[in-house]
Amino acid sequence: MNVLLDYLPEFRDGFLGTLAITASSALLALVLGVLIAGFRVSPIPPLRAFGTAWVTVLRNTPLTLLFLVAFFVVPQILFQGASPYVLATLALGFYTSSFVCEAVRSGISTVPLGQAEAARSLGMTFSQTLRLIVLPQATRTVIPPLSSIFIALTKNSAIAGAFSVTELFNVSKLLNDRGYPIAWIFLWIALAYLVITFAISGLFRLLERRLGVAR
């Protein structure tokens, strides 16, 4: 009980850190995921192959390995001096983008065929069809899986704590090093994660209701 009260600033920083890293990598994953999903359904074979390779490789790589790549390979060959926060965002965002891509792609296939056909018969190009007709309608079916993808992302962000990003796992390590009983720390950290995951699922349920239409 006292652990929380004694170390309220640390818990607050960790909580905000988890929120920040989750939000920034969710944004990156969303942008990349939609882009790659567009690649995967495009009429251009090399882009399709690129999209497939992207998803296959990233989905079958352990996230910890991606963190190692981000922290040891990227600074060596691409750019130096990025903060751990940026590198962790890259690793989490790239990993999650493959899951977002698959969710968007299956959302695209749930849009009734007539919609795309009608758009084509109006003379729309591929990118117009996708942008103006199919993706807006796919949004509705994509939202429930996206909610669980982002909940998984929140949980995965704990790994960033092991790579010296300030967030909740980091706090749990710090307090354990100071000799507090792990059971209490575990309980409070678990509660903090529950708060975030419930907030995400609540937010997405709200979105779902706003976007839902009677069919």
């Binding site: 090399p46 910890t64 040891f72 069809t129 575990f186 994660y193 699922s201």
Partner: protein, 311 residues
């Protein structure tokens, strides 16, 4: 691709020409990206033969082999235990006795909501501080923390998968079994679970892929599995004044991807086989088990989860 191709017309001569231009541009862009990475790699001297020659040393090979074997060992133990726990929890959640049902629900919701790493770390700390009384030596605290953490988390997920499977068995099956005079245990073990497992096998195996990937969390609690060995090796082996992170990570990454792909291929194969069969209930999809089950739960988990924090 049949669903996707509806997004664009069958290309005419003009569109064909345009698509060809885009294809060339796209290929160039992808190749350019690859060339850029290769150029950067060679600029940093990572494509020198000496750097890659390290994989000819017996020590490096033994180290990688040991790492793979350790990872597979953790995976095997954790997979078996998590499946057993999953079956137990699934049955407990469907039990008629309220305390059992509540306990199982709380357990599942708590450990599914907490990041696996936090669970593993807490277990590690507990085992490490009690290792004398538990008689654990060497790297055994790490091993058991990793295995028990994986068991608890994946067991909870498998329980949800299995429960969804049991619920998807048509009601007539259960009623017919009761009508034949079977006991509750008999109905569960001889009628419901076999059909549930058969329907959910692709999802179960996809979750095993997640288990395999998550064994890499052992790296963080300094357990000497493949990733930790790789990190240790690449920091220690200095070639041309550089550490060897890049070649080692490329090789180890390929090993991980190959192992996971093999397991996913098995899931897809079973799913295709199950679709061909006309009998029984439909097969679940092999893709993204966690996401799929979480999606189901995200809609209806709020009250259960709140109980979970107390449990």
């Amino acid at each position: 691709m049949s669903g996707a191709s509806v997004l664009y017309d069958v290309p005419g001569p003009k569109a064909k020409a345009r698509n060809r231009v885009y294809a060339v541009l796209g290929t160039l862009a992808v190749l350019g990206l690859i060339a850029f990475v290769v150029l950067r790699l060679s600029a940093k001297g990572q494509l020198q033969p000496e750097v890659w020659n390290i994989f000819n040393y017996a020590g490096v090979r033994t180290s990688i082999r040991d790492g793979v074997l350790t990872t597979l060992q953790v995976f095997a133990v954790a997979a078996v235990l998590s499946l057993a726990l999953g079956a137990l929890l699934a049955v407990a959640r469907l039990s008629d006795r309220k305390p059992i049902r509540w306990f199982a629900t709380g357990f599942v919701e708590l450990f599914r909501a907490v990041p696996l790493l936090i669970t593993i770390y807490a277990l590690w700390v507990i085992l490490l501080s009690n290792r004398d009384s538990l008689g654990l030596t060497g790297s055994q605290p790490q091993f058991w923390a990793l295995v028990v953490g994986l068991m608890v988390y994946n067991g909870s997920v498998q329980a949800e998968v299995l429960r969804a499977g049991i619920n998807s068995v048509p009601k007539g099956q259960k009623e017919a079994a009761y009508a034949l005079g079977m006991s509750k245990t008999q109905v569960m073990t001889t009628v419901l679970i076999p059909q549930a497992v058969r329907a959910m096998l692709p999802t179960i195996i996809s979750q095993l892929v997640v288990t395999l990937k998550d064994t890499s969390l052992g790296y963080i609690i300094t357990y000497e599995e493949l990733l930790y060995k790789a990190r240790l090796m690449s920091g220690n082996i200095i070639v041309n004044g550089n550490d060897t992170y890049i070649p080692v990570i490329i090789v180890v990454g390929s090993i991980y991807v190959a192992m996971c792909l093999a397991l996913s291929a098995l899931a897809n194969w079973i799913e295709r086989r199950g679709r061909r069969a006309k009998t029984g209930i439909g097969m679940a999809e092999a893709a993204e088990p966690v996401t799929a089950t979480d999606a189901m739960e995200a809609a209806g988990a709020a009250p259960d989860g709140a109980a979970g924090t107390k449990g």
